[in-house]
Point group: C2
Chain length 440, copies 2
């Protein structure tokens, strides 16, 4: 059993509800939508990500022998339930925002149309995947906005929340604008460019820094980025320069201290030795705000390694992402819980543009209510069969292009005075009133 | 290839350093220690967790055909490297704090003693596992301190950072004092008690709330916790009471609105109907502070479901956990990077107790420097072979017992005026001076 794809990676209530749906033959078509209720602090937009992994999960969804054995043994379900689960496959349709789409609250990222039990069962894992990758792509986009054309590398695996978080953070941060990752498995599975330097342990294990640098460069003669802050950074730079007489040093890495001051001093040491092409790589508790500060101060840093703050989305490690029933058996539905009311029915989002091509406003409306602009939701699975989706680098390009088309105030790291306009259409409001009257 | 156990789930520099170690025959014994440099805000202690998963990883560590194929094809390494990796197994010793141990900054959770390449290679994934579970066990402990004897259930899977985060958050939060989880896979793999109620979609899909309640209870006649906030909470309670004439209702769940006010009104409705034993379950953007507030206000809530804030450790989603070389080839080592200096050599931690049995102070010292008190690090792997470790429920009991032995101010949700005393021994300070003179 693979913990990443087993349907037991779900909330118990999905299974208890499924038994009830089966017993009462509640298997009519249900429509669920996955959306974000509101933006976190300091966010003006989000970047859709995680659809590919969600499609993998949905396509492969089935209960195998180990899962069915647990269902039979756990004592919570009636005997016929396991046999019903054994038959279950996803046979429905999915519509989604393509990965890399810039989007806003109340806009569905994903619409699921399927027999009720199938659609219900997707909730936990599909949210788990799309929530996380969207969180990290949106966080990465902030660093890209701060860093301009400077290099950005994901260094976060060790403090990501487990294996899949580390792996998918590498993917989502690349999608959101990073240049690569240190995570080897992400290079292997997703073709993301992989980068690495050396650790302090490498330097410490040698009798001197210079010996460590010469040793590393002898093994990687064209590609050595030397870590120079183990004992004293500027002194480390001098030792790197001295060692570099015998090889071509690609650059140095600073991982502690006052990076603005140290980068200037190290740049002087490198330039004085004629190593104008040697790059300065900076890391150590960085985030988009520190990168913006270093760039504003003119620190001569070429590339940034960002770890923990990126892969945990440290300033706000979650989105208010939900998966809600919008229609069942042909009737639109909504909940009215305090502070958590939803808009009913199957929806589409239209994006309208200003004359200069920038984004002007989005309209969220009923699927059947054609509006001016470009529809954002597209079919990605039909009757359980996956349709072609673009590769990761195309999704990354989409994200970069769309971020460039945002009104300038929305590209800032702080909340803009005016949020991007997302209009709920008259048709949708009328539908909500109608649903309320019917369930009053 | 399993993404959860493959050695390609690592930072690239671990592999480049390994090639350099192999080429220069730097395979003498290295000692690394994993520790936390400082406490996050609002934390007075941490709870050790994740050792079991780390031991699984270390025991199974090997490069298979798919991994070796990538190493050969990626163009970064010399031809003989893949053959060297094919032979690599972990043959060293591990010492660790038992899971559930309450610990403090600068105290090693794990000490790794092994040939340098083996010990180096563990860094990324072992940190990834122990960092995350310790983060979540420590966060869960705060809810347990706030909740007293009330029920606490992990509801976080959907907004955990991927599959492994959801699964291990269930484990770590149980270890830190929760009563169970909604994550089915955690019940199957770890034997953790599993709980569930129903979702709003279940209620919405029925023509009336009462029909939904009666339907659910007919399928789960002894175990129905009814979700009553889909439209109007107090009205929902009345419908639940009406429906419950035909079955034994276990309780109701509130998921939105003013939980203090609503829980009182709902309790009145239940009591007036003679349902004194029906429990009130509360959920919806809860964390330890909100639980403490509801309990202080006397809200009649029996059990709390906590999700996102728990599994992301939302107020501080990371620890300053590191894995540092402390000795190589018989010589103690340390780094002196600004703000990141380490204490050198193999260490042990002794815990000393007050006459009433509460924790008085810890002393961090050299392994060979016997101090009064109880040594906290124990052998858990010898020459690559795993030693017996206690089951999860014993670790959970240890955590509960140790939290009860903390001085009272350290059991608060805010930072205590005086931190717990962790003394660096004279022997360790003398060793650091000696190392500094040798590398000056």
């Amino acid at each position: 059993m693979n913990p990443l794809s087993t349907p037991l990676l779900t909330d118990l209530y999905q299974l208890t509800m499924l038994q009830a749906y089966f017993e009462h033959r509640m298997t009519d078509t249900a429509v669920f939508e996955l959306f974000v209720r509101k933006l976190p602090p300091d966010r003006n937009f989000l970047v859709a990500a995680g659809l590919e992994q969600a499609l993998d999960f949905v396509e492969q969804l089935r209960f195998g022998d180990e899962e069915l054995g647990w269902i039979e043994r756990c004592g919570l379900f009636r005997p016929q339930f396991a046999a019903q689960l054994a038959q279950l496959r996803f046979t429905g349709d999915l519509h989604a925002l393509p990965e890399g789409t810039v989007f806003f609250p109340n806009e569905p990222l994903l619409r699921v149309t399927a027999p009720f039990p199938e659609a219900q069962l997707l909730e936990t894992r599909v949210l788990n995947l799309i929530h996380f990758e969207t969180l990290i792509a949106s966080k990465a986009a902030r660093s890209r906005l701060a860093a301009g054309a400077k290099g950005l590398i994901d260094f976060g695996l060790r403090r990501a929340h487990g294996a899949e978080a580390g792996l998918l953070a590498a993917r989502a941060s690349y999608l959101g604008g990073f240049d690569g990752t240190s995570t080897v498995l992400a290079a292997h599975l997703f073709g993301i460019p992989v980068f690495g330097t050396m650790a302090h342990s490498f330097v410490q294990a040698h009798d001197s820094e210079r010996a460590a640098f010469e040793h590393f460069a002898s093994v990687f003669p064209d590609n050595a980025v030397l870590l120079i802050d183990t004992y004293d950074t500027v002194e480390g730079a001098r030792k790197a320069v001295a060692a570099a007489k015998s090889f071509r040093m690609k650059g140095v890495r600073l991982d502690s201290g006052d990076l603005e001051d140290l980068s200037r001093k190290v740049r002087q040491v490198l330039d004085a030795a004629g190593l104008k092409d040697a790059i300065i790589f900076a890391s150590g508790n960085l985030d988009e705000d520190r990168v913006a500060g270093l760039i504003a101060a003119g620190a001569p840093i070429d590339s940034y390694g960002i770890g923990t703050s990126l892969v945990t989305s440290a300033d706000h490690p979650h989105l208010d992402a939900v998966y809600k029933l919008q229609e069942y058996a042909g009737r639109p539905r909504r909940k009215r819980s305090t502070g958590k009311a939803t808009w009913p029915g199957r929806k589409q989002v239209y994006r309208q543009f200003a004359p200069d091509g920038t984004f002007a406003r989005d309209v969220v409306t009923a699927e059947t209510d054609r509006q001016p602009g470009e529809p954002l939701l597209h079919p990605v699975m039909a009757q359980g069969r996956r349709l072609a989706t673009p590769p990761l680098r195309v999704a990354r390009e989409r994200a970069m292009q769309q971020m460039a088309l945002l009104p300038a105030p929305l590209r800032a790291l702080r909340t803009a005075a005016s949020p991007y306009p997302v209009e709920i259409s008259a048709a949708l409001k009328a539908l909500a009133d109608e649903v309320d009257r019917a369930t009053a």
